[in-house]
Every structure is written in structure tokens, then in C-alpha cells.
Symmetry: C2
Subunit: 328 residues, 2 copies
DNA sequence: CTCCTTTATGGAACCGGTTCCATTTTTAGA
DNA sequence: TCTAAAAATGGAACCGGTTCCATAAAGGAG
């Protein structure tokens, strides 16, 4: 419990520097090595990580800053990151900012002060303040979810994912389509995903494409989808996330639409629950496992100063569901 | 960035011990205090937390061991714990064991070695190995979710919650009720919750009470609920979790039952998604916020060696839903 | 069996704080 | 104004490791 390197050294009859060398894989004669091994094992000795970090300047910590812990996407990626980093001897320090941009910036600075070896940021929006902070950072930083100039990023191919979904819906015979999206401050989802959906629809026979803005939450989705149903004659609602799609389903049902007969609905995200409900939701499932392990490997490379591409894109796949029926 | 207490001391013209005292609230004359404050602020100085921990034996870390990060219940409680601990200057070290009992035990030991100030365990099952480990621990430990002898625990009142639900369903006029539960290795959910449901049903007019065992996952829920529908004439299915209830809904619908007209279904957990779907799910919502902050306050007290009750129970409330209709 | 080169080992300084103790400065009581 | 007690400060040891450097032991060539 409280045994130190000094006691190990004394008991093994060697200098503490020798024990330190033994622990860190330095050159040791087989004889001494064996002596030390015995004592270490007898006491179940583990070096004090604080003393170790103090001198070596390496903490073995990787900070992960996320806007929420109860988000499907975040938790899936996080789990994988944590798993892989643990396997290579790092400890993930998870910081939850509860969607506060200020706490996000503050957390990055704190992590830098705490001297973590690297940090990963789950970004929803990149503000000028972010960019300024990024440029001052002396510790490797990896951003997930949004693109930023001169910064290492892992971002889903939102344009392509949107395009596939637009194509899928339009090809199913829908000519009048509404997209329930989010604010364009979120470049990835608010801009690129939307543009992809729009292009995919237009390129595959859709005549009308209407846009309604929602937040990421259920209630604002209900409002936005309600507005869409009142103002358009769309036969399909493409929603920017699965949660928004659930809101759309709710309001559609309340207004008497049958899904998918009267109205097709789709989402993005591939949440587990989307296949558990009825009708199951057609959606785009991003490859979260791949994302997580890519992130872990990337930050490790960055720490070792190995070269890494600034932009990396994990894959995705379209997951069909009962919420859409071919019309042809 | 790399400024140390020595440089601060030199620049302020005092001894480093004085700076240390200033930082930790010791007695300092207003004059010196002001001098030091200036220099500290000019450099944006932050003491090295490793050096600090090394000598003071306090790390400011609290380890939290959880079987999963993508669980609704865990994440809700975790967020609150993290928030409260952060406010009082602690850092939560979140460890995910991916449901492995071995990794759970191992993690507790690692945390002890890492010299965290306290630890919190989200338990699903207390094995003899757990009890043995608990007794060897020299660091405050708080268990959430299960009861253990001579250990500080925060546990939902599963019996009472079960009783309320049983009463609610039976009182609605259901005489033949099935309970889709989980294995009794999980004392809280597998034993107490089940017994509560049973007693609640029996005490309020139910004639038949059948039990079917499921796992916590969607697919085994489908199997168990399917079996129940095939083998009984139950008009209500009480499920041990909301996820299980979703499985029951799926299989019921496939077999042509209308919910709630032909079959009432309820869950436990109060997941967010349960009120987003149709029909919305009647469920028991435990007070997760309360649980989280209770846990944070409790572990802090334990660290300060203040007395705390061994067993504490956060509240819950029954949340009605469209999945149940009064029959009378 | 020397002498020189490697390889092992020990000793000491150092990392950046905290804390105990001795010394100096203030404050206050007489 | 002098003195004792309280408050403030400085100095040094210490926390538990890592690492540099010097020395000792071992290995190899001649």
C-alpha cells in the first residue's frame, strides 16, 4: 500500500536508481533483476504515479471534452476511445461541459494546465474563440465532429450521408420533401448535411425541397415538424437527427398521418432505439466504433509526433426502416 | 505555462513557502499577499497538481466505476455526480468496465493504487469477491444500485417502486398479470423489484401473477415477452426496465395486440425516450438528479470522515403513459 | 593475464510543491 | 518605552520517483 521505491531498493539491497531502471526497462543484469522482481512482487509494489509524472513530465492522461454524456453518439464514440486508450496505458479524463461553450473553452485550458498528454474535443460549433485558443495550445488536440482549419479533425462525411438519404427518399418516389434541420452555426449538421440532402433530393427527381429549422431537442422538433406539415404538402420528412425524427413522428401521428403510408420519415444517427420502436426508423448509422478507435490511434500518433492527416472521415451506412415505403 | 512556485517567489521577493501559504490560505500580511497576487496573476500561474499531490497525499480525484456509459440511468446519475464534485474542486475519474465483473474488481484496486480520495461503484451484482475486496479497501467507497453489508450504499427503493407499479396495474382492473423480470443475481431488480410488483398486484385484486425471465437487452426481452403472450392470458405485462418494455411492445404488436386496448405494458426507469414514442410508456421514474447529488455529497462526507448512514434511498415517481388504460 | 571497452550499479541532484521549525517582525499590554 | 506574546516569513527537509554522471564490474581482444 504505502511501500516506496526506497524500501524496495533497501530490501533488495540495491540503489533506488537501479530499481527505477528495472521498472522502466533499463539495462539490468539478470541477477539483480531477479532480486528486485522478488521484492516487488512480494510487496505488490506500484510506483506512485504522481511522483513519476512530476519528474518525467508525462502524465498518461488524455482529456476528452464532451458537451454531454447522455448523448447516444457521444457515448458510443467515447466508450471506444476509452477502451483503446486504456489498452495502451493511457487514462481518459472525461470532462462534461453540459453544452456550455464557456465551460468547453475553460476545460481545454484546464486540461492544458493539468498537463495532460493530449486532448480530444467533441465539437458542436467552432467559434472564433475556439480558433484563437487552438492556436495557443501546446498540447496535441484532436477535434471530433466539426472541421477547423490547421487542426486535426475527425468528421463524418455529412454531405455524402445527406446525399445518400436524399437520393434514397427521392428515389422512393417522393417529389415534395421537407427537411427538418438545425441552425447553421453547426457547420457539419446545419450546413453540410443539409446541402447533401438537398442535392441528393434534387438530383433524383424531387421537385420541391422545403427547409424548417429545429433545435436538437424533442420539443423544438415537434414545433418544426408541425410547421412543415401545416405549410407544405410534403410526403416525406427528412430529419437531421433521430431525436428530431421521433418528434416528427409524434406530431404526424397526432395530426392523423399514417407512417409510412401518408408520410415517410427518416433520421440521422442510427440510435439503438430507432430500431426498437414501431415503425422502426430509417436512418443513417455512422460508424461510431471506427470513429472511436480512429480517434484513439490518432491522438496517440500526435503525442508521438508522428504525422497524421488533418482531416479523417469514418464511414456510415444507410439503415432502412419501416418509416419509409417505396412508392413506385 | 511552465512557471513554477520558485519563479513566483523570486519575482515577488519572498520565500516559496510564503507563496505556498498564500495559495493555501495561510496567514499572510496584506502587503505580501498583494505582492504575490500581482505576480501570480501576471503569469497566470497554476500550481503543478502532481507536485502538490505528491506531498499532500491528496489527489482531488474521485474514481467512478460504471458497467456502461451508454446506459440511460448511469449517464443521468453520472452527470450529476460529476457536476457536483467539480463544483467542490474534485475531478471525477470515470472508469467503464463494459459489464465485466473482473474489470470492475480490477478497477477498484487500480483506483486504490492511484490513490484517489474516494470511489463510487455503480453495482449490478455483489459477489463474494466484491465483499472480500470491499473489506480490504482503505479508501472510502460508496456503492450505488445494490445493497451490501457494512458498506455505504445508495439504493433505489425497488420493493416500494415495484409495489406501486403492481398496485397501479392491478387497480386498473387487470386480473391476470405477467412480470418480465431479470435474474435474481441482481438483488435489487431481480429480487426486490419483483417481489414488490408481486405483492402490489396481489394486494390489489390480481388473481394470477406469472413470471418470465429476461436479460436487460432488447432481444432477450422479445423472447421472454413472446413466451408470456404464448403461455398466459395476461392482459398486462409489467416489465423490469423500459428497454424490456420496448421489446414487449414490439412482440405484442407483431402478434396483433393493440396497446393498450388488448394489452397494457409498463416499464421501470423513466427513460427519456419512453415519453417520445407512441404509445408512450407508463413507467417508474427514479430521481436520478437527487441520486447523483446525494452520491456526491455522501462521498465528500466520507472523505472528511463525517458520519453517514450506511443505506440511503432516493425517491421515485410513477409516470403514467398511453400504454395503460384504466379498465374499470 | 593485462588493458581497454562495455555494461551495471550507486550516488546525488532534481521535479515543484508542502510543511515543520527557527527567526524576525508586529502588535499589544504594562 | 520596554517586554512578552502573536503573527509573518524564511530556510530546509521531504514527498517518491527519474536521470545524469562517476565508478565498479564484466567481457573481449591482444
Amino acid at each position: 500500500m504505502k511501500v516506496t521505491i526506497n524500501e524496495i531498493a533497501k530490501e533488495a539491497g540495491v540503489a533506488k536508481s537501479t530499481v527505477s531502471r528495472y521498472l522502466n526497462g533499463g539495462r539490468i543484469s539478470p541477477r539483480t533483476s531477479e532480486k528486485i522482481r522478488r521484492v516487488v512482487e512480494a510487496h505488490n509494489y506500484e510506483p506512485n504515479s504522481f511522483a513519476r509524472s512530476l519528474k518525467s513530465k508525462k502524465t498518461g492522461f488524455i482529456g476528452v471534452v464532451a458537451p454531454a454524456l447522455d448523448s447516444f453518439v457521444t457515448s458510443k464514440i467515447l466508450i471506444k476511445i476509452d477502451e483503446e486508450l486504456r489498452a495502451t496505458g493511457f487514462t481518459t479524463l472525461i470532462i462534461n461541459t453540459s453544452h456550455s461553450i464557456d465551460r468547453e473553452l475553460e476545460s481545454l485550458q484546464n486540461l492544458q494546465r493539468q498537463k495532460v498528454d493530449g486532448m480530444i474535443l467533441f465539437a458542436t460549433e467552432i467559434t472564433p474563440a475556439h480558433l484563437e485558443l487552438f492556436s495557443e495550445l501546446t498540447i496535441p488536440l484532436l477535434v471530433i465532429g466539426q472541421e477547423a482549419k490547421r487542426t486535426h479533425c475527425i468528421v463524418f462525411d455529412d454531405y455524402q450521408a445527406g446525399y445518400e438519404m436524399g437520393k434514397y427518399i427521392a428515389s422512393a418516389g417522393h417529389a415534395d420533401i421537407s427537411y427538418i434541420g438545425v441552425h447553421e452555426a453547426d457547420e457539419a449538421v446545419g450546413q453540410r448535411r443539409k446541402q447533401g440532402v438537398k442535392d441528393g433530393c434534387k438530383d433524383h427527381g424531387a421537385e420541391t425541397f422545403s427547409f424548417f429549422e429545429s433545435g436538437f431537442d424533442f420539443n423544438s422538433a415537434i414545433a418544426a415538424a408541425g410547421k412543415s406539415l401545416a405549410e407544405t404538402a410534403s410526403t416525406a420528412l427528412i430529419c437531421a437527427t433521430d431525436t428530431i425524427a421521433l418528434g416528427a413522428m409524434r406530431v404526424a401521428r397526432e395530426k392523423g398521418y399514417r407512417i409510412p403510408e401518408d408520410l415517410a420519415i427518416s433520421g440521422f444517427g442510427g440510435y439503438t432505439v430507432s430500431e426498437m420502436i414501431h415503425p422502426s426508423l430509417a436512418t443513417i448509422a455512422f460508424n461510431y466504433q471506427e470513429t472511436g478507435s480512429l480517434a484513439a490511434r490518432t491522438i496517440e500518433k500526435m503525442i508521438q509526433s508522428e504525422p497524421v492527416d488533418f482531416l479523417q472521415r469514418p464511414g456510415f451506412s444507410l439503415r432502412p426502416g419501416e418509416s419509409i415505403k417505396g412508392k413506385k
